[in-house]
């Protein structure tokens, strides 16, 4: 099928007809298996997670009502909050660290700089606070490494701007994926094609002829770009047929698990580079401990599901996973009549976690102090350095991510500079 697709692309003369971001189609698709990795997954705890109930536990001064400092658990170099007794489903921190602590990199004391949802989500996703134009890391890496993959950048919500570098694909349900995979067949059933094969071939050739004819006409740049993108989208969509064998017969019920299945089937088929997964409702103003004890275990279970299914599909060694939220929660419980004193509000200091290919685990970088304020970090040694260190912000993380993914010098990355001076780059973040 892949060869058929490549042949079609060749027939289509995409190298000539496509806009510049499609011009390297044949090179990018030169392998018979499509894009083979690394695959980037960004998991968002949307609404603002309470890091003190996960990777940055405190247990002092009333910051956590569910445990004391002496209850804090450790695993290798990690410290984490005990949640086994408090969860009602999903995965506890104890299980999560037992399974993934050895490969987990944690950065505590991340300065989100803002405590509003929209700018926070944008800042965390792009590394740029004061621009709406910047692409998310997931979109950027997809544009750089797989611009012609039909589902190059998958997103299931949260901030997903593309910087107009790559198309954003939303495929929220598994059955939808099957229909897409067999678009020329009735209800996705490949044994019931709409057209006889010879008729469909004629239609495709007529579209190609039409495309070439219009390309010769003088056109406005915007019209030309739109025509090229439309034609590329329809041609590239045929590569989705590769997904069909990887679509599971049963659909998981959990929110993240459904997103994971769509993502992994697309990765496995070689049609996707990155995915932005998300679950919401972390915004626990009303009842922090109850909400966080429902959502953090759900989030961790989703990560575990991702890793297990990737293992089964034999692509786990190609996964790069980023776990983040747009903000943290306050060190104190809110205290007003409306919230009954059980909620926590927005806090502009938090954490981020990574695991996967090329990331050295069992490490914790940065910290917050006893009042949950950020402790500065020496970017050269990554040690906490209160006096001379820097405040690690999303742009530092994104600069490191771009270097990690090998796209820091790509023209698209240069188009969206992050402005971190060399002396402030986090040296050796990935180990």
């Amino acid at each position: 099928m892949r060869r058929v697709f490549l042949k079609l692309c060749g027939l289509a003369g995409l190298g000539l007809a496509m806009p510049f971001r499609f011009s390297n189609l044949l090179r990018a698709e030169s392998k018979d298996n499509g894009y083979e990795g690394p695959f980037y997954v960004v998991l968002n705890a949307s609404g603002g997670w309470d890091t003190t109930y996960l990777m940055d536990p405190k247990g002092i001064d009333g910051i956590n009502r569910l445990f004391e400092a002496g209850d804090i658990q450790t695993r290798g170099n990690h410290k984490f909050a005990p949640t086994e007794k408090h969860k009602s489903g999903g995965m506890s921190n104890e299980e999560f660290y037992a399974n993934f602590g050895d490969e987990l990199l944690v950065l505590n004391g991340l300065d989100y700089s803002v405590n509003n949802h929209s700018p926070g989500a944008r800042y965390m996703a792009t590394g740029k606070l004061n621009s709406l134009a910047y692409p998310t890391f997931a979109a950027l890496v997809a544009a750089c490494q797989g611009p012609t993959c039909p589902l190059s950048f998958l997103t299931f919500g949260n901030y997903s701007a593309t910087g107009n570098l790559v198309a954003m694909s939303r495929v929220p349900y598994l059955p939808s994926l099957k229909k897409l995979a067999n678009a020329d067949a009735i209800e996705g059933n490949e044994r019931s094609p709409y057209h006889d094969r010879f008729a469909l071939d004629r239609i495709e050739r007529a579209l190609l002829t039409e495309h070439e004819a219009t390309a010769a006409d003088p056109r406005l740049p915007r019209v030309e770009r739109a025509e090229n993108m439309l034609y590329a989208a329809q041609v590239n969509s045929k590569a989705l047929e590769c997904i069909a064998p990887h679509i599971p017969s049963s659909i998981p019920k959990e929110r993240l698990a459904q997103q994971v299945e769509i993502t992994l089937a697309s990765f496995k088929a070689g049609v996707c580079v990155s995915a932005n997964l998300t679950i919401g409702q972390f915004d626990s103003h009303a009842n922090n401990d109850r909400d966080q004890m429902l959502l953090i275990p759900e989030f961790l279970a989703g990560i575990a599901y991702l890793m297990r299914r990737a293992e089964e599909l034999k692509i786990r060694d190609q996964l790069v996973v980023i776990l983040q939220s747009e903000m943290g929660r306050t060190p104190t419980y809110n205290n007003n009549n409306n919230n009954n004193g059980n909620g926590k509000d927005h806090w502009s200091v938090g954490s981020i976690m990574f695991l996967g290919k090329g990331i050295k685990g069992d490490r914790v970088i940065g910290a917050t102090d006893e009042k949950q304020f950020q402790v500065a970090v020496d970017p050269q040694t990554l040690a906490c350095e209160k006096e001379k260190g820097i405040r690690v912000r999303p742009e530092h993380i994104h600069t490191a991510l771009r270097e990690f993914a090998g796209i820091a010098d790509h023209e698209y990355s240069k188009k969206f500079p992050l402005g971190v001076p060399d002396k402030d780059k986090l040296k050796g973040l990935w180990g």
């Binding site: 469909l200 740049p221 989705l240």
Partner: protein
């Protein structure tokens, strides 16, 4: 609030925020927006608007007071004009280029300035005419920014291309718009891109007004697949059904019959070309001459499908089951012409003229 870098924004934001200090709900379920227990913040600028304090006697109607001043501010008219541009084109107005080292900086600057001049001119008229928003729509629609649809000569000059980059209306139809267009052409919606089937609508770049609030501007591979499904399915539903009606009642094929075979006579070919020209008008909104290159391509597609079919053995003499299942008294298709017309319709519906505005 004394640091200069803070004051620059807060002197505007705080004062407007203060206007909302009494805007809260009694309902406990909306407790987040309840009245602030300790009173309004005393460490920020007080309520007002751009240097004018809110008079104490006006506090009970603070938002109305703010509304009057907002509308009087010249930026209000400009903001509305910019918003209408977004509604019409699906994209925001240009921002001034920042990268002075960009070799195309001068061209981008010219593009921005030209558009900005038009924006301000429309805004001035908008204000002068008593803020009637209809005038803004009219002015934009009458402008070259909206109406330009081609170039007289091709240009590969990057500078000129940068100047023209934002000119013209080229907007992919949103899922709801596609449904409305289908209804206008065929007399019925597809029903799979509307609110009833959020799956495909979301896939096709639609919004749910919750997590997804921005429509996709460019098609992805997934959307390309939906366009294939759409064109296949609509052509399947409509072609045979239309031929099953008396000629006078048909929407699509009122001037052609299934027994008219391409190449059988000049008269037959002329009829087929006329039918294609009519389809172009209906589906693409194009008024192509029967001997135009556009009609030639559609004619060739139709003729070749029929010819290919003649070379096939064992083809059913009827439309496929799915396409004829809901058509009472469906005519047979012994010459494969109905299916060839379905192929033409599929081809047309995958074109930019159909899928874009």
């Amino acid at each position: 609030m004394q640091a200069t870098e803070c004051v620059v924004c807060h002197k505007t934001l705080d004062t407007v925020a203060g206007m909302f200090q009494d805007y809260w709900r009694f309902d406990a379920n909306f407790a987040t927006y309840g009245k602030r227990k300790g009173g309004w913040f005393s460490d920020m600028f007080g309520a007002g608007f751009e240097g004018e304090d809110l008079p104490a006697e006006q506090r009970w109607r603070a938002l109305q007071w703010l509304g009057v001043r907002t509308a009087k501010d010249p930026r209000f008219a400009v903001a509305m004009v910019e918003h209408v541009y977004y509604l019409l084109t699906g994209r925001k107005v240009l921002l001034p280029p920042k990268e002075i080292d960009d070799p195309l900086y001068a061209a981008k600057r010219r593009a921005y300035q030209t558009q900005r001049q038009r924006t301000e001119a429309i805004a001035a008229r908008f204000a002068a005419e008593g803020f009637n928003l209809k005038s803004v729509f009219k002015d934009w629609v009458a402008s070259d920014f909206y109406r330009a649809d081609g170039l007289r000569t091709a240009t590969e000059n990057p500078t000129r291309r940068a100047e023209l980059d934002d000119i013209g209306l080229m907007r992919m139809l949103a899922p709801e718009q596609v449904e409305r267009k289908l209804n206008a052409i065929f007399g019925e919606r597809w029903g799979r891109l509307g609110h009833g089937d959020g799956q495909l609508a979301a896939l096709y770049g639609g919004i749910d007004s919750k997590e997804v609030t921005e429509r996709a501007a460019d098609p992805s591979g997934a959307m390309g697949a939906i366009q294939r499904i759409l064109s296949n399915d609509i052509a399947c539903r409509q072609t045979l059904k239309d031929f099953a009606r008396p000629a006078a009642e048909r929407r699509l094929f009122s001037n052609i019959e299934p027994d008219i075979i391409p190449g059988s006579s000049p008269k037959a070919d002329a009829k087929i070309r006329a039918a294609i020209a009519r389809l172009h008008e209906l589906v693409l909104g194009r008024y192509d001459a029967v001997d135009s290159a556009e009609v030639n391509r559609s004619f060739e597609l139709f003729a070749k499908i029929v010819t290919d079919a003649q070379a096939q053995k064992g083809l059913d003499k009827r439309e496929n089951y799915h396409c004829r299942a809901h058509v009472p008294d469906a005519p047979e298709d012994p010459h494969y012409t109905i299916r060839a017309w379905r192929g033409v319709l599929t081809y047309l519906m995958r074109r930019q003229d159909f899928l874009y505005e």
